[in-house]
């Protein structure tokens, strides 16, 4: 535990149980859960905005005209698989199998990067077909929502790579696998949001 719980943990009573808290959940993990719960509201507001605006415009091209479901299905599948590799990374760190843990962290980050590449391709393709950020309310809402999700994935990749570096420096071992778990919580959440976005925004056709 960090400075965070130093007052509570730096005693001989619970020196052997650094996570002794009232709820039994460590401060770091509880904070991540609370933070992710606030993120639900953030994405909730963005998704609602898109749903209200998805057909708004003055006859310009709409995002729904351009969706390439097979392509986005593949990149969604890639992101989903990264949740699997995240779990494998955590499991490896839990067994103190650092080599595998590091490898799975790297694979997770790379799958995330592939997804981001897909998003960059999609944005470029849409732009070339005439859907700019300022084209109409539907376009603004679409790019803002998916862009925010992409920013979250990117931050997740930075966190994964930071973990990878820390593991290489020997600062991240099986003893503090909870850190991997906490970053994993974030990663799974970002995946989950994408499942929601993919279903509600891409798969449900406009009326």
């Amino acid at each position: 535990m960090a400075t965070a719980t130093a007052p509570a943990t730096d005693t001989h009573h619970d020196a052997h149980d650094p996570h002794a808290t009232n709820t039994g959940i460590s401060n770091n993990k509880l904070a991540m859960w609370l933070f992710l719960s606030t993120e639900c509201l953030l994405f909730g507001a963005l998704i609602s905005t898109y749903l209200i605006y998805k057909t708004r415009g003055n006859g310009e091209v709409l995002p729904t005209d351009l969706f390439d479901i097979p392509f986005t299905s593949v990149s969604s599948f890639v992101l989903l698989m990264s949740s699997l590799t995240m779990v494998l990374a955590l499991s490896a760190f839990g067994r103190n199998d650092l080599d595998r843990g590091k490898a799975w962290l790297l694979v997770t980050a790379m799958l995330g990067a592939v997804f981001m590449g897909g998003q960059a391709y999609e944005f470029t393709a849409f732009y070339e077909e005439g859907l700019g950020y300022t084209t109409n309310p539907a376009a603004s809402a679409f790019y803002t929502l998916t862009g925010f999700h992409g920013a979250h994935v990117s931050i997740g990749i930075v966190m994964l790579m930071s973990l990878w570096v820390a593991a290489n420096q020997g600062k991240l071992t099986g003893k503090n696998s909870e850190t991997v778990e906490i970053v994993g919580l974030y990663w799974h959440f970002v995946d989950l949001v994408w499942i929601f976005i993919f279903t509600v925004i891409y798969l449900i056709p406009p009326e």
Partner: protein, 668 residues
């Protein structure tokens, strides 16, 4: 948790050899100003919140006096319409985001750890971060007067399309949006931190339903903040993107719907009302029992009604929008919800009255402010329920009746309660009393000034005087009551200055007066079981809690026949504050550095994107420096000098900072 058995080295006041970690060495406490800018002590952070909030109270108060001076006479030319718009906008924004919220945060920071028996909050460095980010956002917001071409001029609610670049061409609204985004990051970090503190850091035996009502109300407030702020974050970002990057969220010509802003804003804005009022409710729930010599009446009703307000606060936002054409079903549903939310509030008011009923009342200044809160809030609450009747509300919308109502709620219910807390906890925080005689003069002038200012606005509103209009014509019967309101506002301003004089004078007189001792009011909660002012380590020993009002039961016993017998003096029962070797978290500069980066990003978005790069590097660098700096000064904990990479410390913090990093990059 943490009962100290063996002395460990005390971090405060000790000098240590410099460790070869260069920039990542933790700063050491040495009694200079650096202590304050690098502190992670929840008490110092609380005091800084209080001082900074008080400064912005004066700023917002000055803006209020300018408004009232302009409105003193019909067709007055003291302020131009344009300046008037900026002044009333910045008055609202300043008072809500830069005074009431941080002033409540001052109490939350200082008191939550003390009331639950903890040595600090869950994340001391994040706590420092919250304060510095809030302050940097507050300063950023006000620099729009200098570099932004004036303040925002769209009202604190900033309805679109008024807030668009067409109708508000200066940079004021950009400063509004970014400034509130930055202060929002601060509040969100603080909300997560304090909620984790309440849930995880309680002393042994301090179950949730033994927590003082204040801590409960603050916990509910943190949840409201945590869920309301992301919504305003989205709204502000959409507004900013519209203004800076030409997106089309609020342009009706492009097919956008201006109502979107209203919904997003009020989904945040109504819970915000309870974010403002619940801390005050909590404070007077501590003050009234103490000065009535009775336990709080209906503790569980008090707690559950607070939780109920927290839930129902999410279902009433559209009563701000009855004239927006939201349709009869919505109007009906939100009318009903608005009537219902008066029920838990009414429960609270009746419980305070029942607490006082039959008590031995002692009308100290704190008690006067608390009773003032109950009465003034009741008036504001009653005028609030009238808004639930949509036909009546249609008449009242955008009139001074609304202005009267929300000032009775926010000032009468919120600010008076916060002042009750100031007088109540002052001896605990600073080790001397605020003078009671001057305090009572402060109370009465404030109460009279407040009622003179806002009482007449009920009449003006019902007569049809519109709010947000820079002047009014003579001959409509508005002259008299406007003049009364203006005179009242000057009385109110004088009362605030008198309070500051009381602060100064009481401090000066303090050395000649007896010290307050640990428990000057014979109070009930844990913070009174330790010396005044609070020692740096809070508790010598973490107390083991056996009941509600545990501290009171260490002083008194209830006999079989129901009579109350004193079993110990407060001095004997209280901790002595002389423990040595309590391990405390080491200070850090990185929260401040991180906070300086954010307004740079803000200026960059408005003026030159290269500044964003500088700000981003500063913020990003601070995050990594924060992660990598040793968890403690390597010499501070007295054992394990060379093993500061041992254990899971650095990486445990990594995840925490990762979460904060998301805020800054994902939402800010």
């Amino acid at each position: 948790m943490a009962i100290i058995e063996e002395p460990l080295a005390l971090t405060s006041g000790e000098q240590h050899a410099e460790r070869p970690l260069g920039v990542l060495t933790r700063p050491q406490a040495n009694g200079s100003w650096k202590d304050w800018v690098s502190t992670v002590d929840h008490k110092k952070i609380g005091i800084m919140y209080g001082v900074a909030a008080m400064f912005f109270f004066l700023v917002g108060g000055l803006e209020a006096l300018l408004i009232r001076t302009q409105l003193a006479f019909p067709e007055n030319g003291f302020l131009s319409a344009d300046v008037y718009n900026q002044i009333f906008t910045m008055h609202g924004v300043t008072m809500i985001f830069l005074f009431v919220m941080p002033f409540a945060a001052a109490f939350a920071n200082y008191l939550i750890p003390l009331q639950i028996g903890a040595r600090d909050v869950a994340f001391p460095r994040l706590n420092a971060l919250s304060f510095w980010v809030w302050l940097s956002g507050a300063i950023f917001l006000n620099t729009s007067w200098i570099v932004g071409g004036g303040g925002a001029d769209c009202g604190w609610f900033c309805y679109s399309p008024n807030s668009g670049i067409t109708f508000s061409p200066t940079n004021g609204v950009d400063f509004y949006a970014i400034g509130l985004l930055i202060t929002g990051i601060a509040s969100l970090v603080s909300a997560v931190n304090l909620a984790v503190t309440c849930l995880n850091m309680r002393a042994p035996g301090m179950s949730l339903f033994r927590m003082p009502v204040l801590t409960w109300m603050l916990l509910v407030t943190q949840f409201l903040l945590a869920f309301a702020l992301p919504v305003i974050t989205v709204a502000l970002l959409l507004l900013l993107f519209d203004r800076q990057f030409d997106s089309q969220f609020f342009d009706p010509e492009a097919g956008a719907d201006p109502l979107l802003w209203q919904h997003l804003f009020w989904i945040f804005g109504h819970p915000e009302v309870y974010i403002i009022i619940l801390p005050s409710f909590g404070i007077i729930s501590e003050v009234i029992p103490t000065f009535s010599r009775k336990p709080i009446f209906g503790y569980s009703f008090m707690v559950f009604s607070g939780i109920a307000i927290g839930f129902m606060g999410w279902g009433v936002w559209a009563h701000h929008m009855f004239v927006s054409g939201i349709g009869p079903i919505s109007v009906f549903a939100f009318s009903m919800a608005t009537m219902f939310i008066a029920v838990p509030t009414g429960v609270k008011i009746l419980n305070w009255l029942a607490t006082m009923w039959g008590g031995k009342l002692n009308f100290s200044t704190a008690m006067l402010f608390a009773v003032g809160t109950v009465t003034m809030f009741t008036i504001g609450g009653l005028s609030g329920v009238t808004h639930s009747l949509a036909p009546a509300d249609t008449q009242q919308t955008d009139t001074y009746y609304i202005v009267a109502h929300f000032h009775y709620v926010i000032f009468g219910g919120g600010v008076l309660g916060l002042f009750a807390g100031v007088y109540f906890w002052w001896p605990k925080i600073f080790g001397h009393f605020l003078d009671e005689r001057r305090g009572k003069i402060h109370f009465w002038t404030m109460l009279i000034g407040f009622n003179l200012t806002f009482g007449p606005m009920h009449v003006l509103g019902l007569q049809g005087m519109s709010r947000r209009i820079d002047t009014y014509s003579s001959g409509f019967g508005f002259e008299f009551w406007n003049l009364v309101a203006t005179i009242g506002s000057y009385v109110l301003g004088a009362s605030v200055l008198f309070f500051l004089w009381n602060v100064y004078k009481s401090k000066k007189e303090a050395p000649n007066l007896p010290a307050p001792g640990p428990d000057p009011w014979d109070a009930r909660s844990l913070e009174w079981s330790i010396p005044s002012p609070t020692p740096e380590h809070n508790f010598d020993e973490i107390p083991v809690i056996e009941s509600q009002d545990d501290w009171w039961f260490r002083k008194y016993n209830i006999e079989d026949d129901g009579s109350v017998v004193r079993i110990s003096s407060a001095e004997d029962a209280a901790q002595k504050g002389d423990a040595v070797g309590v391990h405390l978290p080491s200070p850090s500069f990185w929260p401040l550095v991180l906070a300086i980066g954010l307004p740079l990003i803000g200026y960059g978005v408005i003026f030159n994107l290269w500044l964003c790069v500088v700000g981003g590097l500063l913020t990003g660098g601070a995050i990594y420096a924060w992660v990598l700096e040793p968890v403690d000064d390597p010499d501070a904990d007295g054992h394990g000098h060379d093993d500061h990479h041992d254990g899971d410390d650095p990486d445990g913090e990594l995840a925490t900072v990762g979460a904060a990093g998301d805020d800054t990059e994902g939402e800010g």
